[in-house]
């Protein structure tokens, strides 16, 4: 048996966890020692209490935000992949439309969200559209790059074997694009969540369909800072969860062969 500290899996979990625990302990003791008022900077214990007491409301809000983020994420995957395949058809199409994809990417979502919210009647749809706009670009650019990043030797081999267009697409281009595509997914999943939260801030939607951003806004108005932190904590948790899911998915798909997913033992 090797000592626990040398085990790779133990360290990847334990080391960051230890840092987190130490930070929380210092935070708690510092707040207590300097008597910092709750409405300025709450203790972790205050946030924890709030998380438990307001759990039903916060959970609904989390569900709302996650739903919009996931809808946007899936929409971005479908639309982004379709656009990438369209770009693959000809350089002319790519060159004509790629600048507009960039335009979409560089325009801050906060600036166009009000417009989208005015134009689209249904708030839920409007929020999803905003988040999709944010999440779309990494999928387009990464998938396009991946579909074009094919080993030229393999292209020659396929040509010499008289492979058809579809054969080349399925057996060569799509597998070559996968690592890039999953890279795009990782970035895009986080962006979808950010897009959803930003759009909620702009829309300021209340009522039964309130997301976490609305909870944060409300908590700010009411000086309920622990609740604000609790909502923030849930957003972060959702983001980390999404990212971890993408990492897992990518490992599942590429684990056997791609350098990025292959451990050092090989």
């Amino acid at each position: 048996m090797r000592p626990l500290a040398q085990s790779e899996t133990f360290m990847t979990v334990a080391a960051p966890l230890a840092v987190g625990v130490i930070v929380v302990v210092i935070w708690e003791t510092a707040c207590r020692a300097f008597n910092i008022p709750v409405f300025l900077f709450p203790k972790p214990s205050d946030i924890g209490t709030k998380l438990v007491s307001d759990w039903p409301v916060l959970l609904t809000a989390l569900g709302m935000t996650l739903r919009i983020a996931l809808q946007a994420f899936f929409a971005a995957i479908v639309i982004g992949t379709l656009i990438a395949f369209l770009f693959l058809q000809s350089r002319a199409i790519e060159m004509s439309f790629f600048p507009y994809a960039v335009l979409l990417q560089v325009t801050p979502i906060v600036a166009i969200a009000p417009l989208i919210i005015i134009l689209v009647k249904n708030t839920q749809v409007a929020l999803t559209v905003c988040a999709t706009v944010v999440a779309l670009f990494p999928i387009i650019s990464n998938t396009t790059l991946g579909l074009r990043s094919v080993d030229p030797g393999l292209v020659n081999l396929f040509r010499m074997s008289r492979a058809g267009r579809m054969q080349t697409l399925w057996r060569l281009r799509i597998p070559s694009a996968l690592p890039y595509f999953f890279g795009g997914l990782r970035i895009s999943s986080g962006l979808a969540l950010i897009g959803a939260v930003v759009a909620e801030f702009v829309a300021g939607t209340g009522g039964r369909s309130a997301g976490l951003a609305y909870e944060i806004l409300q908590s700010g108005f009411q000086l309920d800072i622990p609740r604000m932190f609790a909502a923030l904590f849930l957003i972060t948790l959702a983001g980390v969860g999404l990212f971890a899911m993408m990492v897992g998915l990518s490992r599942l798909a590429l684990g056997a062969w791609h350098e990025s997913e292959v451990g050092t033992e090989a």
């Binding site: 008289r162 057996r171 060569l172």
Partner: protein, 277 residues
């Protein structure tokens, strides 16, 4: 020059490289769209069963010539005949050309068996038939136990063997190899050369091989073509009349050394001519 080899003259029918022409290149040249003249008009006949090696300095158009033969690119002028007929599309009926590249060019996402089976899958060969052929090809290159491995789990030499196995599954009637072992260490290269020459002999392959190495050219070839650069053209031709199948012991024979010296002298002559012009 060397005296005729008694082992060869005794049995002229067994002598490789005396078959009907497989490829005839009739004053074909290649000018790339950017104006670079890669090849001057080349005339070359590749006979069935021969092991032809192209050797020459960098930029002498060896790879271009090989791609012309593979019909991956078209000649700017001149014609290329396949078994004395017109040369149209790649892989046309009755012609199966295998190309082994400088790199193993394997699909990293696919297991060894899938990589080797690729040309059969693309040609929609039935799976029972392709399974048999893949197993056969893998055993010929000595990789029986590695069918389920991924390329990244193999050494450079083993990857090259997979690449060769892939070229053998289609039972090619012309095998083109572009510096296949250039990136390997000398031990691995020597071993693969020996395996290659055995395969060539067993399967009566017609092979065109590109290399930088004099030793490799002498060990493998029935005929060596020395190319000159800018533009690429045929400068010298040398036949190596030694019995087949050749074994590792051939490397240590005085005849091998003499052939190497002769080929080296030809290469020197060509480079001196190049310096003058």
């Amino acid at each position: 020059m060397l005296a005729p080899n008694p082992a060869l003259s005794a049995d002229a029918e067994e002598r490789p490289g005396a078959g009907a022409p497989v490829i005839e290149i009739l004053s074909a040249d290649k000018v790339f769209p950017n104006g670079t003249r890669a090849l001057a008009a080349i005339d070359l006949t590749i006979a069935g069963g021969e092991f032809l090696t192209l050797i020459g300095p960098s930029g002498c158009g060896k790879s271009t010539l090989l791609k012309l033969i593979a019909n991956l690119i078209e000649p700017t002028e001149g014609r290329i005949l396949w078994r004395s007929g017109a040369f149209d599309k790649v892989g046309a009926r009755g012609r199966s050309i295998a190309f082994v590249f400088q790199d193993p060019t394997l699909m990293p996402w696919a297991r060894v068996e899938t990589n080797v089976r690729l040309p059969l899958d693309l040609a929609r060969v039935p799976s029972a038939e392709s399974r048999r052929r893949v197993a056969d090809a893998l055993s010929r290159v000595g990789l029986e136990g590695y069918a389920r491995y991924y390329p990244r789990q193999l050494s450079g030499g083993m990857k090259m063997r997979v690449s060769i196995a892939r070229s053998l599954v289609i039972e090619p009637n012309l095998l083109l190899m572009d510096e296949p072992f250039g990136a390997l260490d000398e031990f691995t290269r020597n071993r693969l050369d020996a395996d290659l020459i055995r395969l060539w002999w067993e399967r009566k392959l017609t092979t065109v091989f590109v290399t930088h190495s004099i030793y490799e050219a002498v060990f493998l070839s029935t005929r060596v073509i020395v190319l000159g650069a800018r533009p690429g053209r045929i400068c010298k031709v040398m036949t190596i009349e030694e019995p087949h199948p050749r074994h590792e012991s051939f490397r240590n024979s005085p005849r091998f050394a003499e052939h190497c010296r002769a080929l080296s002298a030809l290469l020197t002559e060509v480079s001196v001519e190049q310096m003058r012009s």
